[in-house]
Symmetry: D2
Subunit: 231 residues, 4 copies
Amino acid sequence: MTRACTPSWAETTNGDGFGIGWYDAAPAPRVFRSIEPAWNDQNLRELAGHISSHLFFAHIRAAIGSAVQQANCHPFRHGRWLFMHNGFIDGFAAIKRDLVLAVDESLFPQIKGQADTEILFCLALTFGLADDPPDAVARAIGFVGACGRQRGITDPFQGTIATSDGESLRVFRYSSQGRSRSLFFSRDARTVKRQYPGRHALQQLSDDARFVVSEPIGDLPGAWVELARTG
Amino acid sequence: MTRACTPSWAETTNGDGFGIGWYDAAPAPRVFRSIEPAWNDQNLRELAGHISSHLFFAHIRAAIGSAVQQANCHPFRHGRWLFMHNGFIDGFAAIKRDLVLAVDESLFPQIKGQADTEILFCLALTFGLADDPPDAVARAIGFVGACGRQRGITDPFQGTIATSDGESLRVFRYSSQGRSRSLFFSRDARTVKRQYPGRHALQQLSDDARFVVSEPIGDLPGAWVELARTG
Amino acid sequence: MTRACTPSWAETTNGDGFGIGWYDAAPAPRVFRSIEPAWNDQNLRELAGHISSHLFFAHIRAAIGSAVQQANCHPFRHGRWLFMHNGFIDGFAAIKRDLVLAVDESLFPQIKGQADTEILFCLALTFGLADDPPDAVARAIGFVGACGRQRGITDPFQGTIATSDGESLRVFRYSSQGRSRSLFFSRDARTVKRQYPGRHALQQLSDDARFVVSEPIGDLPGAWVELARTG
Amino acid sequence: MTRACTPSWAETTNGDGFGIGWYDAAPAPRVFRSIEPAWNDQNLRELAGHISSHLFFAHIRAAIGSAVQQANCHPFRHGRWLFMHNGFIDGFAAIKRDLVLAVDESLFPQIKGQADTEILFCLALTFGLADDPPDAVARAIGFVGACGRQRGITDPFQGTIATSDGESLRVFRYSSQGRSRSLFFSRDARTVKRQYPGRHALQQLSDDARFVVSEPIGDLPGAWVELARTG
């Protein structure tokens, strides 16, 4: 298999579990997570046909260092908030203790797994995610960067992040070395439907449907807009 | 652990996977199955809070002979039909070939697992479950009995069965040796709610809610009526 | 099922995964862990027939609070050491941060799960398990007790512990409230074999075989000696 | 990810479980199988360091139609025999009943899964695998081909097969359409070790070690010899 066009930091197979999160009438979002590859998961197929929501999260995992277990699968949840991440904290083992100590004491008992993203989420919560999401995420990433550099790690953070409280969706992209992972959103659904009249799945989209994705999916030229690269 | 009151044919722990099935607006019912014990399954907890339906099936499995895998978890599904079973076919390995050969050829490719119940379900479908459920189930059990006795098995079948097409629920109890497993249904929900005003979960039941169970659950004396033993 | 004789602190079903550990010629012991119940695990059956060792650990888990995942299954391993525990730290969520902060910084990145026992093991390692096992385990339990009482927990610790470096096996029993779980060892294997000439599995034991168990197994009156209760 | 050089019939990711089989002093070979991807399976890593044998089978699975469950993972076992297969029976659902009916009645109860390979193995056993492996495998493939063509399937079989009784290893390659999958064996281990002095893993091979693989592994030009294509 040729992998010539795959950037060196990207995993080519995301088969180490997956997770979906969605909002319904309940106070907290729902989460379904599995340690098996998404592609042949029968339960996912069943649920995908059953669940309807105005806001979905979906994540397929390529484990980097931490174990393949449900507690390490995205999205992570706290109260109304969902959080997921495509990327990693470099040198996480070396700075994990520093990061964990900075997590608000009340959040500490809720840490369930060992994924770097769960700690990042806890830091964002600690730094005020509920009040000012962009500021909290920026401070969390900044703190990771500071801890990493203190331990001699050159590029401590890179990735894209999605988080929501069920009302609005916030996405971020950042890289310590200025080469952030990609992030795309879909064009207006009416436009995409006109562009691909023969694609049945697309035709079922409501007019206000919108996707935000790490990488373009579905071989749909013209359907995706890349978020400007600032980091 | 004392197990003095447990009949000899009953498994004391049903930890070999579980399954739920339910009907929504889709043509076929939904099924969610897992090979882990139900008691600590996080996804089950999530889904139990999310799914609503007018008709649910739920089954916890104690594997008897066949592997712990999703394809062997109840409820089984075919078209609109769900089917589950508490019991077993005695000497199943010895008569399995006879039974499988009697399954309608069109159903054969849909056999996904190795559970005796899946074959029983296929036999019931072969014998006309969609047209006359009681007759089809009776003929399926009768056929199992005939095959078993031909191979020298004294008591080939015992168990309770539940099946539905989403409209009505049919339950059966039968034993080749005349000692069928138990089967109970719940009294009128308004009565039970009046009887247990402090039980929060019960108070949430709608007035027309009804449970059919293999064994009384929830320590609720007075809430259950046993189906008359005819087999 | 009657459970009248089960003490209130004991779990009646240990179906939340299991683990075995053993020593061979390699520098570190081997560990095999699974999140499925041990009773129907096909791989366990295969390995049980294949592996031979002078020293085995085996543990079946009843999850109390932490997730059913391999990283929470006993035995835990560090270097030459294996460690397992039957019991729990009461109020673990409340004191976990205090405990984790006391773990040696070099051990911190190796924490893989969320089980109380893993933290207890890390504390014992921090307090010198390799040099003086009884002292280190006593100090670890003492520290858990002190942290717990500081947070208002009446009986922070109870359980039995087994640990080894492959040379000797150390077992401990202790309870903050003076009602420790039980711990038994088997009588001289020659005696047991003479006592049960018809038990094939026992006859295969070498003359110097010895079991240490939380509870007597195998319905073998006369084969077990209870460790004196001091805690 | 570019996949330009991947033949159309090859799966690019084998993440649907795996299995290993090996021979030790026991009458039957051992098998270890898992439904998770091999690449992050902790138990596989443990066992790979522990097990030694003169003959290993290893298989990573890309499920084609049948469920991801241990019973469908290769290698399959019967008595002294192991059997695995890289390929598939085209139109398996349509001819499965014909194939199953041809399986010796004594073998029928031992069918545990739904994989086409398990049925192929049962057919080879039925046709005398223990007496004349090449003839039995040829007859099994021939029977599959005949059944397939009778049902209108153009190219019913393609794949490579490995089977052993612990003494000798037999490998086969065949395709109904004359484009069989590849099959390679490694050159003399002393030659390979001389050729790659810096590859630590290779240097640990004994002089008589030999690999037979579906596709060259390890980026080792010069180390592999392709079996002549006859089918």
